[in-house]
């Protein structure tokens, strides 16, 4: 008995000794090393061009793509493979600039309802078949067919005859004329002066006759294209994809690498897997898990193995602008000004992300308007005032949802804390699988804010504004129907739509951009229809000791066709 008593007494004494420490909780402040990291890692310049030497095996890791067949290739993994297996009408450089692909030149009529692409002679597919206008028409129709159920065919929605094909009423695109093998004439049902920009998407690839219909599994797993690389064997699902140089490539400079080995990693921790693989010598190229960014930068930048690039994307919060409590500009601005973007960028992102002050990012330098988002600054005092104005009193409930599995737990938790602290809001914070998130955003009664991100499909500011903020992009005939388009916040401003329509009908690029800028000033500067958080920046590790010419292209993929052994 005595033994027990002593033990109990000792324990209690130990616990009691903690009381002075614990009764009043200390605030958790304090920093490491005193020095605060910069916000926004500076962009590394594009590497100096080294003349190519044929040979070398380049290795990297990705997650399992949805598809590599151009009819359905959609996300960055599939895109990586498809854009190297195929060359489209135009090429887009890392800075968004457009150059000829298979098309040597292109023109449109004054109202941009018809486009003529003049094609190169003599280029072939990997199996020797010629690449001509018929090949393009074949590829486009293959993806547009109703039975293909392509998830990326919508890029063709302006082409005449697309709707008919999608409805199953036609099996040819009436708007595409391939009667002359070296000329592709495209007639648009919806005139668009930026149509040509879309054609660099892989869904616009030409395909050989052996491709057959979209459900040809042999072709799905081993597409035969016209690009600088070809498949060295079929896609080994969940294991890897092997590419080899196409020596008959004539649509541009040949590739240098002899082979590209793409290992497929489990999607749960893919960035971690790529990083570990880079460290253990398995990969020559890797993404980075966010928590390790500043660590990795400190280690690899001195060695010249670090790449950082501003890309055409933006991370933001999607507010539901037609339902309370965020159906007023003041409420949205209050939320925006209560978020300390700099602190989160420094803390969670270790200084790697750049707080956004506009919606169209600086990666599109001609269109970027620094500071157009006046509410993108941290001003808790003003935020409180605006909140009061808007009736967003302390204690009001605001929903905040994000998608799990994307590494967003930390920063969204930080935002939640800031909203609670600065505005006294009762934040209904939860993480759900991506499909559920999308579903919740679409519902008629949806309210609050949702984590969102957008990467531009085409190198134009219009691609930030039109799909996300135009009335036509809501995809619901009435407020009581789910919003099936990309404008799930349901922002609708006739003046904004008008500006966009005007831009789409303006052949001159400079004038177009001015119109887009005015539109952005309206939707973001004035109405804050989206709450911009950080501009998208991408970081990679590259094995520069062994290879040269490694950079990120516009679609954030490694520039495989230029990479060469040193």
């Amino acid at each position: 008995m005595r033994k027990i008593r002593t033990g109990t007494v000792l324990t209690l004494a130990a616990l009691l000794s903690l009381v002075p420490a614990g009764c009043a909780k200390r605030p958790n402040v304090g920093t490491q090393n005193g020095g605060v990291p910069l916000v926004g890692f500076p962009q590394t310049p594009p590497p100096p061009h080294v003349p190519g030497k044929p040979g070398g095996v380049f290795r990297l890791g990705i997650v399992e793509p949805v598809a590599i067949d151009p009819y359905n290739s959609q996300e960055s993994e599939g895109n990586l493979v498809t854009e190297n297996l195929f060359t489209e009408l135009i090429n887009v450089g890392p800075d968004g600039s457009v150059s000829p692909g298979v098309a040597t030149s292109w023109t449109s009529n004054p109202d941009c309802s018809q486009w003529i692409f003049t094609l190169q002679h003599g280029t072939t597919f990997h199996n020797g078949e010629p690449v001509d206008s018929v090949a393009f028409k074949r590829g486009w129709e293959r993806a547009a067919a109703r039975s293909a159920a392509s998830e990326v065919a919508y890029h063709m929605n302006e082409v005449q005859g697309f709707d008919a094909m999608q409805a199953g009423a036609a099996d040819h695109l009436s708007g595409v004329d391939a009667s002359a093998p070296d000329r592709l004439v495209v007639t648009l049902a919806h005139p668009d002066c930026e149509f040509y920009l879309r054609t660099f998407k892989t869904v616009f690839s030409p395909v050989p006759t052996v491709a057959g219909p979209a459900d040809n599994k042999a072709y799905n797993d081993q597409p035969i294209g016209n690009g600088p690389f070809m498949m060295a064997g079929p896609w080994q699902h969940d294991r890897g994809i092997r590419l080899k140089r196409f020596d008959g490539y004539a649509a541009g400079p040949k590739a240098n690498l002899a082979e590209v080995d793409i290992t497929i990693l489990p999607s749960q921790s893919a960035a971690q897997g790529e990083y570990d693989g880079f460290n253990n010598g398995t990969f020559d190229w890797a993404r980075l898990p966010t928590p390790l960014l500043s660590q990795a930068r400190a280690t690899y930048q001195p060695r010249g193995e670090w790449i950082s690039k501003k890309t055409a994307g933006i991370n933001y919060l999607l507010p539901m602008v037609t339902t309370p409590p965020l159906n007023s500009v003041a409420a949205r601005k209050a939320i925006s000004e209560a978020i300390d973007r700099v602190a989160i960028a420094r803390g969670v992102f270790q200084g790697s992300q750049v707080p956004a002050d506009a919606f169209v990012p600086p990666a599109l330098p001609d269109a970027y308007q620094s500071g157009v988002c006046t509410a993108c600054r941290y001003d808790p005092a003003d935020a409180k005032k605006l909140a009061q104005q808007a009736g967003l009193a302390p204690g009001s409930t605001v929903n905040f949802q994000f998608n799990t599995g994307g590494g967003h737990e930390e920063w969204t938790a930080a935002v939640t804390q800031q909203l609670k602290r600065n505005l006294g809001l009762n934040v209904n914070y939860s993480g759900v699988p991506f499909t559920d998130l999308l579903n919740n955003e679409q519902q008629p009664g949806a309210s609050g804010i949702f984590r969102a991100a957008w990467g531009a499909d085409y190198p134009t500011p219009g691609n930030f504004l039109q799909p996300l903020l135009s009335t036509g992009a809501i995809g619901a005939n009435s407020p009581s129907q789910p919003a099936t388009g990309d404008n799930r916040g349901r922002y609708s401003n006739p003046r904004f739509d008008q500006l966009l329509a005007q831009a789409a009908a303006t052949p001159d690029k400079g004038q177009r951009i001015t119109l887009y800028q005015q539109a952005e000033q309206l939707a973001i500067g004035q109405d804050l229809a989206e709450i911009p958080l950080w501009f998208r920046q991408q970081f990679r590790l590259a094995n520069t000791m062994k290879f040269a010419n490694m950079y990120l292209d516009f679609a954030e993929e490694p520039t495989l066709a230029e990479i060469t052994l040193r």
Partner: protein, 310 residues
Amino acid sequence: MTRFVARRIAQAVLVLLVATLAIFLATFALGDPFASTGEKVVPPEVQAIDRAKFGLDKPLPVQYLTYLGNLVHLDFGVDFDQRRQVSSMLAETLPNTIRLALVAIALDVLIGVIAGVIAAVKRYSFTDVLVTVSSTLAIGVPTFVIGLVLVGYVSGLWIFPVVPRSFTVQVPWWHEVLLPAFTLAIIDAAFIARLMRGSMLEVLRSDYIRTARSKGLPERVVIGKHAMRNSMIPVVTYVGISLGVLMGGAIITETIFQYNGIGYLLARAIQANNAPVIMAVVVVSVVVFVLLSLLVDILYAYLDPRIRLD
């Protein structure tokens, strides 16, 4: 005897039916596999076409019966992700999991039995305390922690292959299987050591053993032959269950080590709401477990006639 076997088989079939129904219903709770998973929305017309292709627009009972019918032909259908035959995915991954399970069992029986016997024979000695404490400690460490530590610090050393590795690198299976097997074996070895020790302690106190000792048999024979045989029963039961569970695929461990077994397959399928694959893997696990359970029961009934009458 035959009546017993027949009855048990009938029951096993019933279990399989109920289990497959449960799995089937459960996969619907996991969500619609054709809803958008990327940043861009999948148009509803496209989703409808995909769903019709996979027969998801038919009423549930019809889907279930079609599925059962296919199962009998070993046709697990086609998966949603890659439009591949699920049976080929299983054929690729199941042998790896079986290898992993067998190696893990071999390891944990070896370690566990030896440790348990020593601890029991030398009760209250330092060895006993060491075994007891370390086996209890081992139960307290989650498998994923062991796996993470091994993958972080040990993989790449000696013959252990690096993780992750390029898919073009060929690694002999007996190198690949070691670390994951060890990760799985530790916890089971701990349980087996404890079971063995407990069971052995009881047996050592029994009249049977006292008699054997008083007959003058050498201690080695007493322990090695008589005591071991009688104390192995709970261990055999445990190993039976464990083998069944391992055959079902160790999801976390296989994923951590990038080991191409059905557990890894299941983990990826769950992420993608890939119902046919999930169902196939779970069905396989259940079938294996039920079969093993059946075999063990029949074995016991053969060895102990009393059980048959129940």
